[in-house]
């Protein structure tokens, strides 16, 4: 069984990751004050259950899930709620946040572990427990929702993503290496929940440390169903769900279908670890492992931080001089989101903090010369420059015909463009406007029907 584990397009970033292998974990002391936004993922805000002046314990629910697409939020320290007000979310908008003054005692509620052994439990019960713990993955998707497989779909392969694709992010690998016991137990639990027949761990071939850990475990009879695939060439965006499914199963999935149509379910290493924590020990999601990039000597630090720690606190702890940076990115250099306010706090879907000093001017410099580079790196094989032209000319329908919806917003096209056009910006804009037009059309139709 020898398959070519490669895909069309993408950009090779070998030169970035060269000296950035750093897998040790370090616990950052809890800050004096945490500000926990009640919007922690791609969904709707949760309902705040505490009042100003309340005493809260570590792990206590401070905001409840009240809709299908919201997740509960837990207190990450013990102390007094000092204010509930609208404060900046790292991604821009002002949302309701619970500010808690840390009393430094870390008094926790009783973490209730799962009543019986997870091996005897039904998948629904396990998913319910995961939902109570409020686990969210790095893409901001509620894990309990992700693991509830519709009855007409079947998971053939459970894919555990342990690749380092984006430069300067090693948090997933560091979990797999440092918390390997929990990690492998978590794999078994997840396998049980989704009913997968096969488990594949995907890692980079040059990552000998992780390979050794995995080899140690899968030689044990308990973990004999787990196998791993190492990928030779590190190319961004290998970690994208659709691209990874294409690499592993060879099946192409469009933007309208999910990876489940190809029988694959892709889960990050950190999610697996959190699942294990919640099922075995009942610990809710209040600590997050993030990678911080230290600019002067280009090294990395994997920190365990409390959710709600402000970004400025983390930078201070890592001794990053604010004068030397002018941009903070939540996530990696390629797919991360620029943070608007330095005082906004860490939420569940942030996996890295990268700081940069004005690497490039972001405005367009030249006209498109049709150099074909964007087309060559596009992993979904659309023509970004043509779409930009159409979107600039307001021909959204035509752009959709040429595959605008298929864009995975990976940013490879913007990266290589010699004219420095912000191609991703136009593609996202085009998608947005098209969605808006569709919604308006829908509204018109429905009002017509009612009148």
């Amino acid at each position: 069984m020898f398959k070519k584990l490669n895909f069309k397009g993408g950009i090779s970033l070998d030169f970035f990751n060269k000296n950035s292998y750093e897998y040790s974990l370090e616990e950052m002391p809890a800050p004096n004050k945490v500000v926990i936004p009640v919007l922690q993922h791609n969904g709707s805000e949760s309902d705040i259950t505490v009042k100003r002046g309340d005493k809260v314990f570590l792990g206590q629910i401070i905001a409840e899930a009240w809709k299908e697409n919201s997740v509960p939020v837990h207190s990450s320290v013990s102390g007094i709620v000092t204010s509930i007000s609208k404060m900046p979310h790292p991604y821009g908008p002002y949302v309701y946040c619970v500010e808690i003054e840390n009393d430094g005692k870390d008094e926790s509620i009783d973490f209730k572990s799962f009543e019986k052994s997870w091996k005897e439990a039904a998948p629904q019960e396990l998913i319910k427990k995961i939902a109570e713990c409020g686990i969210v993955d790095n893409n901001g998707i509620s894990v309990s929702k992700k693991l509830s497989i519709p009855s007409d779909k079947k998971v053939d392969k459970l894919i555990i993503n342990c690749m380092e694709v984006e430069p300067f992010i090693t948090c997933d690998v560091s979990i797999a290496i440092n918390k390997s016991e929990d990690f492998f137990e978590g794999i078994l639990i997840t396998k049980k929940i989704v009913g997968a027949s096969k488990v594949l761990i995907i890692l980079n071939n040059n990552n000998s440390q992780l390979k050794k850990v995995i080899n140690d475990f899968i030689s044990q009879p308990k973990y004999k169903d787990i196998s791993f695939i190492s990928i030779n060439k590190i190319k961004y965006p290998q970690n994208n769900d659709r691209i990874l499914t294409k690499i592993i199963s060879g099946k192409e999935i469009s933007s309208r279908s999910s990876t489940l149509d190809a029988g694959c379910l892709i889960v990050n290493a950190e999610t697996i670890y959190l699942i294990c924590q919640s099922i075995l020990k009942g610990i809710p999601f209040y600590k997050k492992i993030i990678t911080v990039y230290l600019p002067p000597d280009k090294t990395l630090k994997n920190l365990i931080v409390r959710i709600g720690t402000s970004i400025s606190n983390i930078l201070e702890y890592c001794k990053i001089n604010l004068d030397n940076i002018n941009k903070i990115i939540a996530g990696g250099l390629l797919k991360g989101i620029a943070v608007c306010e330095i005082d906004s706090s860490i939420i569940k879907s942030i996996n890295a903090i990268t700081t940069v000093k004005d690497i490039f001017p972001s405005e367009q410099k030249y006209e498109c010369i049709k150099c074909q580079r964007c087309l060559r790196v596009c992993p979904v094989n659309i023509i970004p420059s043509l779409l930009v032209k159409l979107i600039k000319g307001k021909k959204y329908q035509e752009a959709i015909q040429y595959g605008l919806d298929e864009c995975i917003e990976c940013g490879c096209c913007s990266y290589v463009c010699p004219s420095k056009i912000n191609i991703v910006h136009y593609l996202i804009l085009g998608k947005h406007i098209n969605n808006k037009e569709n919604a308006n059309n829908f509204k018109n139709i429905s009002t017509k029907e009612t009148t």
Binding site: G92, R242, K246, E252, I253, S254, S255, S257, S312, E316, L322, N326, K327, I329, G331, L333, L334, K335, G336, A338, C340, E341, I342, D343, V356, D358, I359, F360, S362, K365, Y366, E367, I369, K370, C371, Q372, L375, P379, V380, N381, I382, I383, S385, L386, G403, E406, E409, G411, C412, S414, Y415, V416, C417, P418, S419, K420, N422, V424, H425, I428
Partner: protein, 345 residues
């Protein structure tokens, strides 16, 4: 609020869409590499046809830059000479002109190239025809005599033969070839002698287009740097080669004579310069991978037609211009299939 918070809230952060790093290559870099790669043909031209070639080049480049500047100032648009595309236009035009062309004609050509080939369509990236070829075509129509008067190189004969065929000595290799066929005095073995001279460029012809060796030197540099891709030129040259091989004059496809004849067609005239520079100009050729192959084949086909049947000896210029015109249609029918596309989409 403590002190650290106060200082940090004052800090304004840059916010932009991902990716937060970008490749170092810019359009100016690409253009600069192309200019550098054109230095060997320019040197070869100077060696074979004297210092007048340098003068011709300078006039072309200067006129090109000047016309673009004046156009920008006149119509109050952003000055765009910094992208170096007008330098390339002037340089390529000079290389594809006869070596002893009067300077004023060259200047008119450079002016026409930049203004009517590029600027009137909205500058670099908007033009549908290669500017330099546009200027050259204009000169071919306006000054046919001057544009077809070629001189022998300083140390060789005009058609690469060492002798004596005085009756046709004023003809470039291609002209010689055509008239030799028409007068039935065609001798492939003569050509074999001339082949080496033609390869190094020691023959009559356009200033920078005669030396295949010099052009290939520059092309290797560009290929190594990844500025141009081999696909379009390869299909162009292959088509020219195969067409002349199959429709040769002695009826035998695999004979030495017909092979020499086809090689000769590839090396002489502007085939190499046209294939690697004019047919690789990204702005005026299709963006789709399949489209680029079709473009190359089309160029080769029209070159064959023009060289075989038309009154113009060198058809490369016209072939590429025709393909430039149908580029949008090629693009439209060769849109690649995107990931996950089904038959219903």
């Amino acid at each position: 609020m403590n002190d650290t918070n106060k200082t940090s809230t004052n800090k304004l952060l840059y916010v932009s869409i991902h990716p937060h790093i970008k490749d170092k290559d810019t359009v100016s870099y690409i253009m600069l590499y192309v200019i550098v790669s054109l230095i060997p043909p320019l040197i070869a031209g100077t060696l074979y046809f004297g210092a007048y070639s340098i003068l011709l080049t300078i006039v072309c480049i200067a006129t090109a830059i000047l016309s673009e500047t004046i156009f920008c100032l006149l119509f109050k648009i952003k000055l765009s000479i910094k992208d170096l595309s007008s330098v390339i236009t002037g340089l390529l035009l000079a290389l594809s002109l006869p070596p002893k062309l009067p300077l004023w004609i060259a200047a008119i050509g450079a002016f026409f190239s930049v203004i009517f080939g590029k600027m009137v369509f909205g500058g670099l990236g908007q033009n549908f025809m290669n500017p330099a070829l546009c200027g050259r075509a204009f000169l071919m129509i306006s000054f046919p005599t001057a544009m077809t008067t070629f001189i022998p190189p300083l140390y060789g004969t005009i058609n690469g033969l060492q002798s004596s065929l005085d009756g046709i000595s004023s003809a470039t290799p291609l002209e010689y070839f055509k008239s030799a066929i028409n007068s039935n005095s065609f001798n492939a073995l003569d050509l074999q002698d001339a082949l080496f001279n033609i390869f190094i460029g020691n023959v009559g012809g356009c200033m920078g287009a005669t030396s295949g060796l010099a052009i290939l030197l520059g092309v290797f540099f560009l290929l190594y740097k990844g500025i141009i891709r081999i696909k379009t030129p390869l299909f162009f040259i292959l088509t020219v080669f195969l067409m002349f091989l199959f429709f040769n004059n002695n009826g035998d496809i695999l004979s030495t004579e017909s092979l020499i004849e086809a090689t000769y067609q590839v090396l002489s005239g502007g085939t190499l310069l046209g294939a690697f520079y004019f047919a690789s100009d990204p702005v005026t050729i299709p963006i789709t991978p399949l489209g680029r192959i079709i473009f190359g084949i089309g160029c080769g086909f029209f070159t064959f037609i023009f060289r075989k049947f038309s009154i113009y000896t060198d058809g490369v210029c016209w072939a590429i211009l025709i393909m430039n015109i149908i580029t949008p249609i090629i693009e439209r029918v060769t849109i690649p299939r995107y990931l996950g596309k089904t038959k219903n989409d």
